[in-house]
Symmetry: C2
Subunit: 278 residues, 2 copies
């Protein structure tokens, strides 16, 4: 994590009055990647979500304005700000009607960024990212089905499936996402909001089949009834990002899952070799 | 204010952890009319706006859910949630791109209400109200040009005008607004959001002329350059409210200004008669 000499690590609690002033010293661009909640954890504690994400972000933005740092790349949530799809693929003009607090908070941050942009105080870019996956994820985190399913498969554990498995998502490989963030950092055109996605919908049943194909093992599926905060389909049109950012995703889902699996295997091997002998 | 026997007054600070539990005891419907900021005061302190309005409202909503009170009538801001008009009159499907934090906070509250509605936890109605005016306003408050201009005129003081005076607003008489809130309280149809407005745009220069006509005195106008947080035109289509709530505004602007002036004169007389002899 600290491998690069040009990388400085500051530890702190984003949700308290962290000293963003030190953090921002000498910075030209801010990539704001912190989130204190996930879509499901935001459901039962909306005030914590607002405190941890919206208010903390507003404090960060105030510090940026004070220091004259104008460019911030904000990863919004392409999976939750739109709500139920009124048409597919969803473009940036689609209505924003989140059905989960996580999406409402991400949307509120977008709106404040737009206000500061309108007032000439900041030069933000919002990326409405679809479902990212790939090397570097936390194997024990419930976030991200591809990583979770791969990890369960290697552990010979059953997976949990809510609903019939026909829920469609738009899975984006992490390296493609990083390329989009870098392209966004130097973008100078007229737009402010971009979907960052593949534009391809894949069902959970298809993901299960792809994971089984990559690992060579069938998955044991524990079925549950569907959750009220999962939208049925989320596939995002990426035409604006292609045209304006000169960006497009490079990796197929089959390739991406294969690479994620290889990374996970080596990460587990490393973790095993580091484990104390018991 | 305490004239009616069926009116119970509870004093408390909405922005701290007020005991909404006592307040809500025995209530069937909540009209949530508190706001701790105005559009202009929200500009320089976005975190206070979020604390005072969004977080406090979320706490109120949590208490409502606990007590099983589902109907809340929330006055949103038809003047700020839409931002610059992309077409006129603005209907409820118009994009919501506020240019002032006050509007972003109102919009965020709308989004949380929609989420709780989707989850079956609350049965809210949001009213996107245009510019209300009429008897009962605070003469010294900067909010509401009609009241402010009438009061300045009676005081023989100059008025402040930002911009050329061509800024259009949709002025709604207070009694018409109250009728809409009462109609909304018992509404059981499919909609959740309503513009509450006249659908008629009136410029500031026209307001000045109407005030001069009502008082019989010319106003002295101090001109300033326009403010970045004022949208140029805000006129709201009220067709949905007319159709669904069976409501329509009754009073013309000329009549409304005349009634406001009469009320202001008698309020000032009362206030003078209460003043200590000095």
């Amino acid at each position: 994590m600290h491998a690069s000499k040009s990388f400085h690590f500051f530890a702190g609690d984003f949700t308290t009055h962290a000293d963003f002033s030190e953090l921002l010293q000498g910075a030209d661009i801010v990539f704001h990647l912190i989130s204190t909640t996930l879509p499901n954890t935001s459901v039962d504690n909306t005030t914590a979500d607002v405190h941890g994400n919206l208010l903390s972000t507003l404090r960060l933005l105030e510090q940026m304005k004070k220091k004259g740092i104008s460019r911030i790349v904000f990863p919004s949530s392409g999976g939750t700000v739109y709500g139920e799809a009124q048409y597919l693929p969803i473009d940036e003009r689609h209505p924003t009607e989140p059905i989960v607090p996580y999406g409402a908070t991400k949307l509120a941050i977008e709106k404040y960024l737009a206000i500061f942009r309108h007032a000439g105080q900041l030069d933000p870019i919002c990326l409405r990212i679809s479902n990212p996956y790939g090397p570097g994820f936390r194997p024990e985190s419930p976030q991200g089905v591809i990583g979770a399913f791969l990890n369960k498969s290697l552990n010979n554990q059953p997976i949990d499936l809510w609903g019939a498995g026909d829920v469609q998502r738009d899975y984006l490989y992490i390296d493609d996402l990083i390329d989009a963030m870098i392209a966004a950092a130097s973008y100078q055109g007229p737009h402010f909001l971009f979907n960052i996605s593949t534009g391809i919908g894949t069902s959970l049943l298809e993901i299960i089949a792809l994971v089984e194909q990559a690992t060579g093992h069938p998955l044991v599926v524990h079925r549950h009834s569907s959750r009220s905060f999962d939208v049925k389909s989320n596939v995002l049109c990426n035409a604006r990002a292609q045209q304006e950012l000169g960006w497009s995703p490079k990796l197929s889902l089959t390739q991406g899952i294969e690479r994620t699996l290889q990374w996970l295997k080596s990460a587990r091997k490393y973790s095993d070799s580091q484990a104390p002998n018991t």
